[in-house]
């Protein structure tokens, strides 16, 4: 049962996941956390953190991890969890894989297609909104437990945006700060 749901959810994410890993987060969160309750919001945040710190694309890292955790939360043994993570990683790639095979046949016609480029005049600004909504939905009492959380958020935000500190270094420093502050 949960395996069909995971397959369906991740195929959808693969079809509509425009605008890269961060824009995808709002799609993932909408289904995986809000609609199907596969994992909690806190687990989701932790998975995003780990996906950023480990090698590879965030889309695959998070799909693998969410597939594993969702099956585990449903009470299955680790072997089924591994199957769940393979399923979600496969499903998220399948739609664009098929699309690429189709496009490759008529590559040059697709390259300069006015129809597609005009769709992107609307899609591009909307993906910014998608990313913003992902951030806004994570700003809740599970992730922001006290005033220190807001302080950490502010410092990290300025570090990344203003001083161009590497995201991984920022996460590591925030983890170290957590050890000291809590």
């Amino acid at each position: 049962m949960i395996f069909w749901q995971l397959l369906w959810v991740y195929l959808k994410i693969g079809v509509f996941g425009f605008g890269g890993g961060y824009a995808m987060l709002s799609l993932i969160q909408d289904d995986v956390v809000n609609n199907y309750h596969f994992i909690s919001l806190q687990e989701f945040t932790d998975i995003v953190a780990i996906s950023q710190m480990t090698p590879g694309p965030i889309g695959i890292n998070s799909a693998t991890y969410i597939g594993y955790t969702a099956v585990q939360n449903a009470g299955y043994s680790p072997l089924f969890c591994v199957f769940g993570s393979a399923l979600t990683s496969f499903a998220v790639c399948l739609p664009s894989f098929i699309l690429i095979l189709i496009i490759s046949v008529a590559f040059n016609r697709f390259k300069n297609n006015r129809f597609i480029s005009s769709a992107f005049t609307g899609l591009r600004p909307a993906t910014v909104g998608l990313i913003a909504s992902a951030a806004l939905m994570l700003m809740n009492t599970e992730n922001f437990i006290d005033y220190k959380s807001y302080l950490l958020f502010g410092v990290a935000f300025v570090m990344v945006l203003k001083f161009k500190v590497h995201p991984i270094l920022t996460i590591l420093l925030a983890g170290a700060a957590g050890l000291i502050l809590y």
């Binding site: 709002s26 953190a49 095979l101 609307g122 590497h166």
Partner: protein, 176 residues
């Protein structure tokens, strides 16, 4: 040949931290070095890949693989890109389930979580600058974010509406 393709993309998948766009220069260098594609061909592929849904790094490896060795090539390149992530995450998932109850780990993650939110929020600001989103266009991201966050609209509807909106704008409103 297939083995070289697989190993090359395996290396790219295993050693780039920070997601799709961080992988791009590495893929470019390898692909051009092996003379699989010319620089121009690579940028054509890159331009098309940007307008596709899904995981960017996987898409670009599928594309490159297909251009070099057809469907089998695309499967091998995709597998090479995905496999390191998959194995590393599985190892962490197995370990982290036990580590989660540890009070040290709990403290670290209490500090981490707000920073992760900041990492997601920061690209919004830089994207507004790099996409040159003007004041007249600012309602699009604001409305999208508001509808998802406050009203609970599914992001899928926002994506569909934005795509059709762009087409309507270019074909009907601009033409008048």
């Amino acid at each position: 040949m297939y083995w070289t393709l697989f190993l090359t993309f395996l290396r790219i998948g295993a050693f780039t931290i920070g997601g799709g766009y961080a992988m791009l220069p590495l893929i470019e260098r390898e692909v051009v070095k092996h003379k699989w594609l010319s620089k121009e061909e690579f940028f054509d592929v890159f331009a098309v890949t940007q307008s596709l849904p899904g995981v960017f790094a996987v898409n670009i490896s599928v594309f490159v693989g297909y251009r070099i060795r057809g469907i089998r090539g695309s499967l091998i390149c995709a597998l090479g890109t995905i496999l390191p992530s998959f194995i590393i995450i599985l190892a962490i998932a197995l370990f982290f389930t036990q580590a989660r109850q540890n009070s040290w780990v709990e403290k670290i993650f209490k500090g981490l979580r707000p920073a992760v939110v900041a990492l997601i929020a920061a690209p919004c600001v830089s994207a507004i600058k790099s996409m040159k989103i003007t004041l007249q266009m600012a309602w699009i991201p604001l409305l999208s974010a508001g509808l998802i966050w406050l009203v609970g609209v599914s992001p899928i509807w926002i994506i569909l509406a934005a795509g059709f909106g762009g087409i309507t704008y270019e074909y009907i409103i601009k033409r008048k």
